[in-house]
Amino acid sequence: MSDANSRVNDFVIRFANVNGTGSASANGLFAKAIYRMGIPVTPKNIFPSNIQGLPTWYEVRVSEKGYLGRSGIVDFVVAVNPQSLEEDIASVRPGGYFLYDSSKPLHKEMMRGDIHFLGIPMMTLAMKNFTQPREQQLLKNIVYVGALAALLDMDMDVLRGIVAQTFKSKEKLIGPNNLALSIGFNYAKENFKCPLEIRVETRDLIGDRILMEGNLASALGAIYGGASVMAWYPITPSTSVASAFEKYCKRLRKDPDSNQNRYAVIQAEDELAAIGMVIGASWNGARAFTATSGPGVSLMSEFIGLAYFAELPAVIVNVQRGGPSTGMPTRTQQADLISSAYASHGDTKHIMLIPSTPTECFEMTAQALDLADRFQTVVFVMSDLDLGMNDHLTPPLQWDDDRRYDRGKVLSAEDLENMEKFGRYLDVDGDGIPYRTLPGTHPTKGSFFTRGTSRDEYARYTEKGDAYVRNVDRLTKKWQTAKEWVPKPEFFGEGNRHSLGLIFYGTTYYAALEAMDLLTEQEMGLDAMSLKSFPFPEEVQSFIEQHEEVFVIEQNRDAQMRTLLINELQINPAKLIPILHYDGMPITATDICAKIMAHLSVNALRNDAL
């Protein structure tokens, strides 16, 4: 066993805790301290569908190179959960470290010869120094953070600074937390050779980036984007969008004179009602949105078809989780692309915006409200559990105070007064987007019946085939127009000069960019494109056309984005090679590289054989 694998600012540490024991704040303290030391960091919660008692993990990747995807390799485990000890010991890479609570001895048969065991009697230390049982349990977690500070050479002042900031309003907690940090720190110093080969060094690599989760960013995007009605039904992993929206509305959306609310948040009886409320509010001219996950979208499907066909704005933040059915409710996937893109019966298609970072969650949720109004249709923001519920290092949120909302084609009383005849579903401008009126606008003009049944240009019910065809063909024209309004893809690499291309989207972005570096190190030339939207802008087709073979990397079993590309752009399926990962954990760069290399070597063998 050797320590030859010296790793400065480049390792993964995994905390194994019991759900509901207050470990989250201790682990968050650790990750925040790394961030404040100027080192890129990615924390990920791996939690069960449970409130108390089941194992939960918190995995922190520290990466000087700035890689923010999951690594897949665990260098260091902090184990405070007896239930998962065996699994946790097995998870450490050879040569790695295993820090455990030695208040009770480890079973001999659990020991491995190829890793370092670091025993600290955390519970005993906590019991000796603190009196209340709950305090002992909570501060036991802070003890291991203190020990890590010594073992990894972290800056104790940074840790104490975060403690002081965290408990600014509960000052009496600062002392005990600092004491627990010192207890752990001193124990490690006295009993181990500190620092270890794996350690951190202060850097200045963060810039102005913040550490924020995507759901909060989406909620803020909705606030800045002008949503005043939010209707929702609790479902993991989207719930925190609603709670953050309400929390920040309380701060940012009060009338300063009356202290009354410039927003309404309705917890609906189910997802059907939630989307119904969104549609009702949009029909009546307020910006409205909901947040949900796959099962919720399934329930909303009938209403989504109504909004598509009756042409009403609606924004749905879909924080995807592992499916199908209840699936893996606390694991991540990108497996709702097809069910969102074509949600509802009949010929339907919906705009999707696909963020990769919390900053994009913010921008795209605000943009979704504009696009929904502009196109009078459903717009999905396709987030996922990894993005929504984990902190990500991301550029600061920015807004232009001069920005005005695009409310789309809404006629005023004056407009109605000055026009000859109002046709709700008439394509006046040739872009497929008709004009609409809001209830209550004009005493005698502009009223019409909104319905999910077929109608003519003047909103009159009809079952005549030609009127129906005119209407749905206009919806196709509207769809074509949308291609020019949705976010463009982002390109990586030196332009379109290689024969191989990579396509990815959403949270796959992090691991894919790292994979690109790894493949480049092996002297493979690649170009890459990160997709941001559906329908696909023109650039998407050109990128695919300019490459011989394109790997489509995604986190689902059925290569759903690849299917959309083939279906919408008439791409030869043989050209698009699926690179898939779908075990519920975020995809890794090593996994992507291995699958790409496997494909290329099989092809090479095949070519040799010819």
Binding site: I210, L211, L220, I223, Y224, G226, S228, V229, Y248, L252, R253, D255, S258, N259, Q260, N261, R262, Y263, A264, I266, E269, L272, A273, A274, I275, G276, M277, V278, I279, G280, A281, S282, W283, N284, G285, A286, R287, E302, F303, L306, P396, L397, Q398, W399, D400, R403, Y405, T437, L438, P439, G440, T441, P443, T444, S447, F448, F449, T450, G452, R460
Partner: protein, 350 residues
């Protein structure tokens, strides 16, 4: 086929306080069966809105799916309408109300739409005390799909095809009372004299106003043995509290002698007068309303009129403490917190 209604109307017909004639409250010609109870209810809605001098565009009409939900086409053609999806009108009405508190909301549903597919939304809209009128045109059957029993069909009621219903009915009135809807009334499509004042009263009630209107299906449920036929209903009606609604402006002459009933002052200053025939029925007495309704059900009677009203209830907007202006009127200056606030938020995540 489409029907075109003649636009001719008598020039001497009087205009109401806001200058509209009754004609302005009508809609397209009905495509329901001749004699359908629903058309009478549509007529009562037209009459009520005309008498109340509601500007047609200040009311929004919403419905679900079914024969009843088609009726909004047949009244108030100057009002925006929304024919939503089956059983989900309450949620759309909720969103609409949240967006603009200043309009009146009239929801029309049926017994299939409310008591079966839409049961969840029906009970939850009651819980929220949404400021709307919710009329169920209750005929005990699915008309548009040719006469299947609905969940409000009475136990033992015989369908047109001769089969007997073996299931207990869902009693929407009892349920609304149980859930403490802030306004519960029941009426009969054939009794315009009772129905029009009830609709007027409901439209002026701040909160959720539920009216269950028995409305016989002439095509599929008007046979001997049906408990939702014209004949059966007429034979079993009971009137606890004939009511008339007197708006604040006192435009409408009431043909009851003064001083013979109980006057109830409403939120907006208008009054409701309960005729002395009401006896001891006090619509603000919730327990009594429940008792009277359940007694009538036990006796096979149909208790009609205003059963319960809580004029002090808080509407959803009051509960949510929303601003005085409609949320849909807020602009960037009121909705957008600005870059300075955003920079402060960024700072919290550093």
């Amino acid at each position: 086929m489409s029907y075109v209604k003649p636009v001719f109307s008598h020039p001497d017909l009087p205009a109401n306080k806001v200058g509209y004639r009754k004609r302005d409250y009508e809609g397209a010609i009905s495509t329901l069966c001749a004699g359908c109870g629903h058309d009478s209810i549509s007529g009562a809605i037209v009459q009520a809105c005309y008498e109340l001098s509601i500007e047609p565009h200040r009311l929004a009409k919403l419905s679900g799916i079914g024969c009843s939900s088609k009726t909004p086409t047949y009244f108030l053609s100057n009002s925006h309408g929304f024919n939503t999806v089956h059983g989900r009108m309450p949620s759309v009405a909720t969103g609409a109300t949240m967006a603009n508190k200043d309009l009146l909301y009239l929801g029309v549903s049926g017994d299939g739409d409310s008591a079966s597919i839409g049961m969840g939304q029906f009970v939850h809209v009651i819980r929220r005390n949404l400021n709307m009128v919710y009329i169920v045109m209750n005929n005990g059957c699915y008309g548009l799909t040719k006469g299947q029993d609905s969940a409000t069909a009475d136990f033992g009621s015989i369908s047109k095809g001769g089969s007997q219903n073996h299931f207990q009915p869902i009693d929407l009135v009892g349920m609304a009372l149980e859930l403490r809807a802030s306004f519960v009334a029941r009426s009969f499509s054939g009794d315009k004299k009772q129905l029009v004042p009830l609709i007027k009263l409901a439209l002026s009630h701040p909160g959720f106003a539920f009216i269950d209107v028995l409305s016989p299906c002439v095509t599929f449920n008007n046979n001997v043995g049906s408990t939702k036929s014209y004949e059966f209903i007429r034979d079993h009606l009971e009137y606890p509290a004939p009511a008339d609604y007197v708006p604040k402006a006192k435009e409408i002459t009431v043909d009851y002698a003064a001083g013979t009933g109980t006057l109830v002052t409403l939120h907006d200053g208008s009054t409701l007068r309960l005729d002395k025939l009401a006896g001891d029925h006090d619509p603000s007495d919730h327990l009594n309303a429940l008792r009277r309704h359940h007694e009538a059900v036990a006796n096979g009677e149909i208790l009609t009129g205003l059963l319960y009203m809580n004029k002090e209830s808080e509407t959803l907007h009051q509960l949510f403490n929303t601003v005085e202006v409609p949320l849909n009127s807020l602009r960037e200056t009121e909705l957008m917190p600005g870059t300075a606030a955003l920079e402060k938020i960024n700072q919290l995540f550093r």
